[in-house]
């Protein structure tokens, strides 16, 4: 912890081990890891708000394509069938596995849709600071949805299913499958290019600045702690 960094950078606690530390001003592309446990505390992407916004808008368009177009077509002895993402869940529902169908819809449609829409709302709001404090709530829910948006896992699952079926019938990949592949790349790309700290800097405090100043960790408490 250099003295030069002290006045400008607020104190923070590591999310994984609670160690108090100050993050120095990072260069573009720089990362700060916890001094004790190595948890990634902060990263400074090149363009923390504009680029994620562009990627989110792109992903939303691709998301519509992935859901509207068939994932694959199957042909066997003169019979055809094709499926979409929702079609897969629908068949599960019709066959009596309703809870499983709902889990699949959540991971394949609801979680990614919420993630993209909430990110879009926060990123658009961030263009005109200050953001209302509830945009923080939106961002929190958006980030919670992230691990549940499982296009990467789903893609591998479809690959396994295709190889199993390929011995019985001819299977052709559809446009939906390529869109899903694109989403599997776009969703992590949004997370990597986005810096939540930039949003928090611009958020209007819920309890006003006077209270905020009183509640803020004092600059000199570390000295007193020793």
């Amino acid at each position: 912890m250099s003295d030069a960094a002290r006045p400008s950078q607020p104190l923070m606690a590591c999310q994984e081990c609670d160690l108090l530390q100050r993050i120095p001003a990072l260069p573009v592309g720089g990362r700060a890891r916890c001094a004790r446990c190595g948890f990634l505390l902060a990263a400074r992407p090149r363009d923390p708000l504009e680029l994620p916004l562009v990627l989110t808008l792109t992903a939303l368009i691709v998301f519509i394509v992935a859901n509207a177009m068939p994932l694959m077509d199957l042909a066997a002895v003169g019979r055809y069938s094709s499926t979409t993402i929702l079609g897969g869940a629908r068949q599960m529902w019709l066959d009596g596995e309703r809870i499983t169908a709902m889990i699949v819809v959540f991971c394949a449609v609801i979680a990614p849709a919420l993630y993209l829409l909430l990110m879009l709302a926060v990123l658009i709001a961030a263009r005109r600071p200050p953001l209302p404090h509830w945009s923080g709530e939106l961002l929190r829910w958006g980030l919670h949805m992230q691990p549940w948006a499982m296009y990467d896992v789903m893609l591998l699952g479809i690959l396994v299913a295709l190889i199993k079926i390929a011995q019985l019938a001819t299977v052709d990949p559809g446009i939906g499958l390529f869109a899903m592949g694109l989403l599997a790349v776009l969703l992590p790309a949004i997370a990597v290019t986005f810096d939540a700290r930039e949003v928090w800097k611009r958020v209007a405090w819920k309890h006003g600045d006077d209270l905020a100043a009183a509640a803020f960790a004092d600059e000199d408490h570390l000295e007193r702690g020793r």
């Binding site: 609670d18 004790r36 066997a76 923080g136 929190r140 691990p147 896992v153 789903m154 699952g157």
Partner: protein
């Protein structure tokens, strides 16, 4: 590590889990809400150990039918074939695609079991106040969080196989009861990883240093 190691809890400070703002609550017992984003503040996640235990015990119970019951039932004119998760791995292996068989074996059999054992071990180590191997246990926790979602693989395999192979009356595939239990194991272990507070792993390190100093 020197005496400079001070945690937020030691200094009487609470870090907001949503926006990472560090504040000094008036009452440490009732930390209240974050002044910036309004999220509920907690020094450590409330009842982290109890909730994580409850979730992994529920997941362990579901793990048994998930492996015993079939995930898919294939019907043709004459035959009806039930396939469990292990059966699917064996089928992939015997049909020549051993790399996929390996992926499914790791994602569907080893990862869920490994997660249950790893989270159980982490919980026991926190409850016993184990003061060694913090870095190793922190790494174990991160691996559990990272790989957890990949176990959903078999649920998607079943979903899309069922959706595609609907060529009645020639051949059709129906989902089996096992797929529900399997999905439950994945969801419950993912939730367990989210309720577990990794800061608990490091609290024993902090206490030890206080004794030394």
């Amino acid at each position: 590590m020197s005496g400079a190691v001070v945690t937020g809890a030691q200094a009487g400070l609470v870090s907001c889990e949503t926006c990472k703002l560090l504040t000094r609550p008036v009452h440490p017992e009732h930390a209240g809400h974050c002044p910036r984003c309004g999220a509920t503040l907690e020094v450590r996640r409330v009842q982290s150990l109890q909730r994580t235990w409850a979730l992994i015990i529920a997941a362990a119970i579901c793990y048994i039918p998930a492996n015993l019951l079939p995930v898919m039932v294939s019907n043709t004119f004459a035959t009806s074939d039930a396939e469990t998760i292990m059966g699917g791995v064996v089928y992939l292996y015997t049909s020549g695609s051993w790399p996929l068989a390996l992926i499914v074996l790791v994602a569907s059999v080893m990862v869920p079991l490994g997660k249950l054992l790893a989270l159980g071990y982490l919980l026991v180590s926190v409850q016993r106040g184990t003061a060694r191997g913090h870095h190793e246990r922190a790494r174990l926790f991160r691996i559990v969080v990272f790989i957890g979602r990949w176990s959903m693989l078999d649920v998607f395999v079943a979903t899309f196989t069922v959706a595609l192979v609907q060529l009645q009356p020639l051949m059709s595939v129906l989902p089996g009861a096992g797929v529900l239990f399997f999905a439950a194991v994945v969801v419950l272990t993912m939730l367990a990883a989210e309720t577990f507070d990794p800061r608990l792993l490091w609290d024993s390190a902090t206490n030890m240093e206080k004794h030394d100093g």
